[in-house]
Amino acid sequence: MSNDVEEPAGGEKKRRVRYGMLVDLRRCVGCQSCSVACKSENEVPLGKFRTWVKVVEKGRYPDVSRHFLPSFCNNCEKPICNRNCPVKATYVRDDGIVMVNMHRCIGCMYCMASCPYDVRYINPLRKIVQKCHWCAHRLDAGLLPACVETCLGRALIFGDINDPNSEISQLLATNPVVTLKPELGTQPHVFYIGADADTMDPTRGVDIDHVHFHEPY
């Protein structure tokens, strides 16, 4: 794989850790626990979300169904936010997580305007841009992201996609998976099993003239 790096000391090849998130929608019940856990863990202010579950109903009685789409930052392999950030406040860690340096962010909001997934927000208290970073602080401490830890149906599977023995790699290898907007070439790293096309389509099921965007504070 192109992601391999040479281990300087041991001589044997060591794979680069590349984190990924797999959402098994067959197991998601839409309880919004991930949203709550994320808000609690990351002190996400009122009206803003790093993680949320989009809920869609479709069909006519009696042929109806309800679908969920847990949403995270896709921590893309080619993040457009990173390319466009003028002050390098957005940077990419070696394990693929896209971070925002809170001391460098000037709040120009260009990353928010260029992100195709609408996962970034302005923190009205800190006055900077923030986003889901898969709880990088927890990962560094050897823990799982708060949403993964709390997911009661075990619908969220998190791990190193470069490690062939990880649960996520095995599930990715044996299941049909999709990502959001793959046509944009950002190479998102949140994968979905059993996602509904109507739910993934941002323009379905909304009155395009009356979308309630969050008001800036």
Binding site: V55, C85, K88, M112, S114, Y117, V206
Partner: protein, 312 residues
């Protein structure tokens, strides 16, 4: 367009629209600056004595508008005190791939060059005025062209993500710049030429009518580019179609079709080419005001309308 089976979004959390009115105003003012600078340079390089007043008007408008423009950016930033982060120019601190970084360099160099140019135009130093005119042209074009890149590289937004954007922005800058010049030139002719001879005023009037022709040509180019953009987004991706819907018969139809196309495009076009109205200062200034309002509506619909398509 009734779907086969109804789909209803019960819950979703769209975040705020990031670029609002201040960014539209910023684009508008850089456009005015670039447009009036280019007209001024054409007048100075043209060399004829009767063009001189135009050169002077444009030379003063260009730096003035460009002082107003970045104020909007400071207002819009959530951390305005950190603006200097953009100007460290150190590797590892400034992202040279970002269009905003191109903008920071252009917004620092262009006003300086435009001010020096204005000084030489007013000092009557033709040689240096011409040198700085030629130096300033690429800066003026790129100071507005890069704003097109800001939008074009925001690849999440279907309305913005087109190679047409920088060209469209430069052309609309010309339109608004010429309109502003016409208003200023008419004001000068009416109020500040009281002691001039009849012949001089006549020459000045012909010049203003010539600008009216320029305005017409620029509006035609602008409308043609808008037509191209709309035709393509109507047949492109689903998000692009929804953006076209918003502009053509949706939420932004009044701003786009009503103000930008009809009030700011077709009506001024008629006025500057119709023989009975094109030689009247009143009609010409009316057309210029309409055009400037129309271009502001264009900035607003492109910036805010482009972000009004939900992304998730």
């Amino acid at each position: 367009m009734e779907p086969i089976s109804p789909v209803t979004v019960l819950y979703n959390a769209p975040h705020q629209i990031p670029f609002q009115l201040p960014i539209s105003q910023y684009f508008y003012f850089t456009g005015l600056s670039a447009g009036s600078f280019v007209i001024s340079v054409i007048a100075v390089l043209g060399g004829k004595v009767e063009y001189k007043p135009l050169g002077k008007i444009g030379a003063i408008l260009a730096p003035l508008c460009l002082i107003l423009a970045p104020m909007n950016l400071l207002v819009d930033m959530t951390q305005p005190a950190r603006f200097w982060h953009l100007m460290t120019y150190l590797p590892g601190y400034v992202n040279w791939k970002s269009p905003i970084t191109y903008g920071v360099i252009l917004l620092s160099t262009y006003p300086i060059s435009a001010t020096i140019y204005a000084y030489f135009v007013y000092a009557g130093n033709q040689k240096y005025a011409k040198i700085f005119a030629i130096l300033g042209i690429p800066l003026a074009i790129s100071v507005h062209g890069y704003t097109g890149f800001i939008l074009a590289l925001g690849k999440g937004r279907a309305l913005w993500n087109t190679a047409l954007m920088p060209t469209l922005f430069i052309v609309s800058a010309m339109v608004s710049g010429i309109a502003l010049m016409i208003i200023m030139a008419i004001l000068r002719n009416v109020f500040f030429m009281k002691d001039a001879t009849e012949e001089e005023r006549e020459k000045d009037a012909t010049l203003i009518h010539g600008l009216g022709g320029f305005l017409g040509a620029a509006i035609i180019t602008d409308l043609f580019l808008i037509f191209n953009a709309v035709l393509v987004i109507l047949t492109s991706s689903k998000e692009a179609f929804e953006a076209a819907h918003l502009l053509l018969w949706g939420k932004f139809a009044l701003e786009f079709v009503g103000i930008e196309i009809v009030l700011g495009g077709l009506i001024p076009l008629f006025i500057v080419f119709y023989p009975k109205t094109k030689s009247s200062f009143k009609w010409l200034s009316f057309a210029s005001v309409l055009t400037m309002v129309g271009i502001f509506a264009m900035r607003f619909t492109v910036v805010v309308g482009g972000q009004s398509v939900p992304l998730h």
